[in-house]
């Protein structure tokens, strides 16, 4: 950058938005007096076609090599001006913006003089900074258009198929011998009461036959390295280890059914106390001989216990397996704090199934809140028409289960409506238990550096806005891996995950921020502090020197602050660039 800096300053009236308060011509005159400023002008609307043209013209005519626009906030207009510079052959990173509207004229409408002064300062600061700006290029990296889907449950298979149908190569790995996951075990699905097989089998057939899908069963992930676009995954199966190179990863490892600890509602004590899953199974196999009464108890092991906040950021580093054991043990006792979302419908479904087999069997559902959300209300109504009995019990007073004469069980609960205790003799007591995270998940999390949410499921990048993304680029969540879902919800999330993954792979290339850190090899002593603190694992110490994986670096600059050798500098927000602003303001 030996050539002398020629800064062009363009100050916008924004109609009267700025001009009405700030004395724009004055500011323009002032700008002309600043060092390195080769040109300054003001426009009614710099963002208008005319405004942009005058910028381009000035760049070409006067050979400007820095451009400053003093107008509104960069958040909305920077891209526009940057591209204008680009068209005029100026590197967009040599463009700087001074926000004299949102942060000046609009907030000091009643003090024109002081606002004008402030505007001058802001412009001066921008000029100070502009001097140090460097041209930057946004690094591109290859994205392999193959994907890895972990777990061949409904979600996993759906995700795999969705991608495959779009022509992407997919590795679908499953640690069981057969794909299908939990759903394969199930009997019928709510609310349509169709056989689970109707859903699963076509998927299984499809994934097995699809030429774009390579299904690896009885296979586990043993290691994951690399980064978005270029993950290196080691899987181990019957045929031993194998290395896969994929661009994206979809985690569909599903969830498990919570198994109550022995003694909870006499589970494991009386063998006629079973879980909904077991009931479902008996129904499927037709093992359930006609009972007089079945009592179902909702929210067993769900909506209980405290939430513990783990130190998530440090989580990947701590001994996961150990921590995991602790969590699961503790949870086994006190249950899981969240509502499992599907149990109510599930219970109702089973109740209906029982009724359809044995219409005169009395089915009683004890619940705290009946969360038949969405249009399942109809489903609920249907069950009542079938004379399924719903009794709202006080959650604080759990039902008591005891032995009664014969092999019947005695259930005592407190009925909120009647306001007194009620007693039932039941042949079966069925516990509705929540879905819970599985061990494998947490282990995966460690490899993927995906944080775990307080309740132990894999955590979305943003609960609201990025429900199937993770904080790790290129890694997505499908199905119950990120929390309880019913089948259709799992399918939706699987498709969503596939869509997100497809974006990366379809573009083949990934433009990443130019604003990344750079390591000065001379100064770096490879202390690895940067590696420690980098939230995105963008720094690796290789052969005693820190290296930056630009694809991962988000340009937060934490490393450059921490680096004891001050060997790390930030592009576009270098120390000089920032200090120059401060200096310009104060000196």
């Amino acid at each position: 950058m030996e050539e002398e800096t020629k800064i062009g300053v363009f100050i916008c009236h924004c109609g009267v938005n700025i001009g009405g308060v700030v004395d724009v011509p004055k500011v323009t005159e002032y700008a002309k007096t600043l060092p390195n400023v080769a040109h300054a002008e003001h426009n009614l609307y710099t963002c208008s076609e005319a405004g942009l043209d005058s910028i381009k013209e000035a760049i070409k005519k006067l050979g400007l090599n820095r451009v400053i626009v003093a107008s509104c906030t960069p958040r909305t207009h920077e891209p526009l001006f940057r591209s204008a510079c680009k068209e005029a052959g100026l590197n967009p990173y040599l463009f700087e913006m001074a926000n004299i509207r949102e942060q000046c004229s609009w907030v000091h409408p009643r003090e024109p003089e002081r606002a004008t002064k402030k505007a001058k300062d802001l412009v001066r600061m921008a000029v100070g900074r502009a001097k140090w700006l460097m041209p930057q290029t946004e690094p591109e990296l290859e994205v392999k258009d193959t994907s890895l889907v972990i777990g061949a449950g409904v979600a996993g298979m759906t995700a795999a198929l969705t991608l495959a149908n779009q022509g992407f190569k997919v590795y679908l790995i499953e640690k069981e011998e057969e794909p299908g996951g939990i759903v394969r075990e199930l009997y019928k699905l709510y609310p349509t009461l169709q056989d689970a097989s109707e859903i699963v089998n076509p998927l299984i057939k499809a994934v097995k036959s699809h030429k774009k899908i390579e299904l690896l069963t009885s296979t586990d992930v043993s290691d994951i390295g690399g980064y978005v676009g270029n993950f290196e995954v080691t899987v181990s199966g019957k045929k031993g280890e194998r290395k896969l190179e994929v661009g994206t990863i979809i985690v569909a490892c599903g969830a498990l059914n919570y198994e109550p600890p022995e003694g909870l509602y006499q589970y494991g004590v009386f063998d006629r106390v079973i879980t909904q899953q077991q009931l479902d199974n008996m129904l499927k196999k037709g093992k359930l001989e006609k009972p007089d009464r079945i009592v179902m108890i909702q929210c067993v092991g769900a909506r209980k216990g405290e939430i513990r906040a783990y130190q998530l950021e440090s989580f990947p580093k701590s001994d996961t397996a150990e921590l995991l054991r602790k969590i699961l043990k503790a949870r086994k006792e006190e249950g899981w704090p969240y509502c499992s979302r599907i149990c109510c419908m599930n219970a109702i479904k089973n109740a209906i199934l029982v009724k359809s087999q044995y219409p005169d069997t009395d089915v009683v559902i004890l619940y705290g809140d009946l969360r038949v959300y969405k249009e399942y209300e109809d489903f609920y109504t249907k069950s009542r028409e079938n004379e399924v009995r719903f009794i709202r019990i006080m959650e604080e007073v759990p039902a008591e289960i005891g032995q009664a004469q014969g092999d019947k069980l005695k259930v005592v609960a407190y009925d909120m409506l009647v306001g007194q205790e009620v007693e039932f003799l039941a042949d079966w007591v069925v516990l509705s238990t929540p879905l819970r995270p599985r061990k494998a998940e947490v282990l995966l999390a460690r490899m993927l550096k995906v944080p775990i949410s307080p309740d132990g499921f894999l955590m979305e990048a943003h609960l609201k806005l990025r429900p199937v993304d993770t904080s790790v680029d290129g890694v997505f969540l499908a199905g119950t891996a990120s929390g309880p879902k019913d089948v259709s919800e799992s399918i939706i999330s699987a498709k969503a995950a596939a869509a997100r993954a497809a974006i990366l792979m379809a573009n083949k290339k990934l433009k990443t921020e130019a604003i990344t850190s750079v390591v000065d090899e001379e100064l770096c002593i490879g202390c690895g502090l940067c590696e420690e603190i980098c939230p995105y694992g963008a720094h690796k110490v290789v052969e005693g020197k820190s290296t930056v994986i630009e694809a991962l670096c988000r340009g937060c600059g934490a490393c450059s602050v921490e680096c004891p050798q001050r060997a790390i500098s930030m592009r576009h927000f270098g120390d000089q660039e920032i200090l120059a602003q401060v200096e310009a303001l104060l000196r």
Partner: protein, 432 residues
């Protein structure tokens, strides 16, 4: 990437935005048609989002802007679907772009015009609690940042034309018919709210201080009409006692809306908490039938509402609301199921949580596209479980609340947005 056919997305809510972005960012041209002047949909109207209490607009705005700037997305705001012919792979679509009376290419959205416009109108974006002008931007973060003239209320004085530095106003502008060829269509038309006037016992419309939850959102919102100062509409008093009534129109067979709208419980808790944060000594009661705070994160939310914020939940659906003529307070009559007794409580403000209905256009739209709707008027999926985001016409998909309460909340809407994007990508892949 011209070889891929383009896609039409109807509805610029968060779901439609997500679908558009996912498609666009993988190189598929998207036309996003929105009937109102700005994209953003219902989410833009919310103050905060449960359970994380993120400022709704803060997290939505970037997506909106991204949408506007994306080279593959063409926004057709203030536009409506006119006609659709053809089938998957090649639909011929006609979109009617209603006249904005403002040249979108010239307008800088500076708002000077509406500052001077003499004609005031209740702002539907603020649920008519706030005020806008006849030339307006529905809300400050609107996308595109372009003014719109509401001819209904315009007195045609032409002041806007005069004061517009950019000469963007054109009161003679005409509607524009736009022909589009698309390979697939995504519907994300969202929902409308049940009008509680349909339940006279609650006195909505009769008592100014009986409001809907969406109205409350605006009253709570810092960028809302009262600048986030919660006051009751009748006289600006700070409500010291607030009641939430769940299932107003939902789960109600008489009204033919038997389903559970599935978000009210959650947002009520959120709003209740917000109210407590605004007015710590306010008494807040939530009247509910079942507290359906299902899914991860919410149980904890409920517990905190009870323990930390001392919000009391009463299991009952109130029978009637009357007004104390002297104090102008509202008297709410209900049967306490816990105690089996008819009781009454006084409230300064009563918030009704109305059912979410299919948005008004749905029937027409369905007819236009030849797709089926379910008995409630939501778009019908051929197979609820296996193809939840499909409609009965191949190549046409639905996302978000227009599918019915299948969608719980924002994450669901977004997930579905992405899911439809995937489906579109699939069918287009097949087609090509």
């Amino acid at each position: 990437m011209g070889e891929k056919p383009a896609v039409l997305v109807v509805g610029g809510g968060v779901s439609g935005i997500q679908a558009s972005l996912d498609l666009a960012s993988r190189g598929i041209k998207v036309y996003l048609v929105e009937k109102s002047p700005s994209i953003g949909g219902r989410m833009a109207q919310l103050d905060k989002t449960f359970p994380t209490m993120d400022c709704s607009m803060c997290i939505l705005a970037p997506k909106m802007i991204e949408c506007a700037h994306h080279p593959n997305v063409q926004l057709l705001t203030y536009s409506e679907l006119r006609e659709v012919k053809g089938s998957v792979g090649n639909f011929a679509v006609e979109v009617l772009k209603k006249p904005r009376y403002v040249d979108e290419t010239k307008c800088t959205g500076c708002g000077i015009c509406s500052e001077h416009c003499p004609s005031e109108v209740p702002n539907e974006f603020d649920m008519n609690l706030g005020i806008r002008k006849a030339i307006y931007m529905p809300f400050p973060q609107a996308v595109p940042r372009v003014m719109t003239v509401d001819k209904e209320n315009c007195i045609n004085c032409g002041l806007c034309e005069k004061v517009c530095g950019a000469q963007a106003v054109d009161l003679e502008q005409r509607a524009e018919e736009i022909e589009l060829d698309v390979g697939s269509i995504i519907l994300a038309t969202g929902f409308d709210l049940f009008d509680p006037a349909g339940l006279p016992a609650y006195g909505y419309g009769r008592y100014k201080d009986v409001i809907t939850s969406l109205e409350l959102e605006r009253l709570l919102c810092a960028s809302g009409p009262t600048g986030g100062h919660l006051v009751r509409p009748s006289d600006g008093k700070m409500p010291k006692s607030v009641a939430f009534i769940q299932c107003v129109g939902s789960r109600d067979k008489r009204l033919g809306t038997a389903y559970c709208s599935s978000i009210c419980c959650k947002y009520s808790i959120k709003d209740a908490v917000l109210i407590k944060e605004h007015i710590p000594d306010a008494r807040v009661n939530i009247f509910y039938i079942d507290m359906r705070a299902f899914g991860r994160g919410f149980q904890d939310f409920v517990n905190r509402a009870k323990t930390e914020y001392g919000i009391s939940f009463i299991r009952s659906s109130p029978g009637e609301i009357t007004q104390d003529p002297a104090e102008k307070n509202l008297i709410l009559w209900f049967e306490d199921i816990a105690t089996n007794s008819v009781q009454k409580l006084n409230f300064d403000l009563v918030v009704l949580c109305p059912a979410l209905l299919p948005s008004k256009g749905n029937e027409k739209l369905a007819e236009l596209l030849g797709i089926e709707v379910d008995k409630y008027g939501f778009f019908k999926a051929p197979n609820l479980i296996a193809n939840p985001v499909d409609t009965t016409v191949p190549g046409i998909f639905a996302s978000g609340y227009c599918l019915g309460p299948k969608t719980g909340d924002i994450p669901d809407s977004i997930t579905q947005g992405s899911a439809t994007a995937a489906r579109v990508a699939e069918v287009l892949a097949e087609a090509s």
